[in-house]
């Protein structure tokens, strides 16, 4: 049996999910409990196009939703439970729940940071170009 534990951030996610959809949060906890006996329940995070895991650490996700949600609802599973298996090679001792939350929120957090970084890079590039232009004009 692996030890399953939540990080503080995952607990905060759970608190938010309970406020939003208690049944889905319950399902998330039920799945988290299942990970004790089956740490490999989730699918590995990977680049599907070349089937390479994205990182060395064994990070996995489980798609979930409230159990009574219509099978034809789109998207069928709105939430994700994301976890890391430690150690990532050999027999799993600990399953660390890293996130349990709404999919768009997870996207937003990551994409906002990426967008900010891209904006900063663009500003830096423009600044360099301006400096370069001024330098060229100077006699």
């Amino acid at each position: 049996m692996a030890r399953v534990a939540f990080t503080d951030e995952a607990k905060a996610d759970l608190r938010a999910l309970i406020a939003e959809d208690e049944q889905a949060a319950r399902e998330g906890l039920r799945i988290a409990k299942q990970l004790e006996s089956n740490p490999y329940l989730g699918e590995q995070l990977r680049e599907k196009s070349n089937l390479k895991p994205l990182a060395q650490a064994d990070c996995r996700k489980v798609k979930l939703d409230r159990p009574n949600r219509r099978a034809t609802a789109k998207p069928r599973y709105r939430y994700r439970l994301v976890y890391r298996i430690e150690p990532h090679d050999g027999s799993p001792e600990t399953v660390v729940i890293m996130a349990l939350g709404v999919k768009p929120r997870i996207y937003r957090e990551a994409t906002t940071r990426a967008a900010k970084r891209m904006r900063e890079q663009a500003v830096a590039r423009r600044r360099e170009q301006r400096v370069e232009t001024v330098r060229r004009r100077e006699p």
């Binding site: 990080t7 759970l14 995070l45 890293m98 996130a99």
Partner: protein
């Protein structure tokens, strides 16, 4: 299926398309393998005076495009999730709470009872 660029191979006016429609639909329906691009087996129908046009696309190509979009969305999700994990790992306090304690803290005791039974 890759991203299509340029025009479809066949371009019809609406009058031409009206006459040819049964044959075009039959040809499209007979396609069993998806093409490389959505435009490869598509027929473009250009109404007179309109800037944009309509496309008649074989079902097999549409299905393949939908499958590919789903696959890419999944890949994007995995990348976003991994970035999130990286960020959280860097900022991790190191505090861990066992799943049983979390279940108790949030008042879902019945989950522990059900698991014990």
């Amino acid at each position: 299926m890759g991203r299509g660029t340029g025009k479809a191979k066949m371009v019809f006016t609406t009058s031409q398309a009206r006459t040819a429609l049964p044959g075009l639909a039959r040809t499209a329906a007979k396609q069993s393998k998806p093409s490389k691009s959505l435009r490869d087996n598509a027929v473009e129908i250009q109404p007179r005076g309109e800037e944009r046009s309509a496309y008649l696309v074989p079902e097999v190509d549409l299905q393949e495009a939908e499958r590919r979009i789903e696959e890419l969305e999944e890949e994007l999700e995995d990348i976003a999730l991994l970035r999130l994990i990286e960020q959280r790992t860097l900022a991790e306090s190191g505090n861990l709470t066992t799943v049983d304690d979390v279940i108790r803290q949030f008042g879902f005791h019945d989950l522990l009872d059900a698991h014990a039974a």
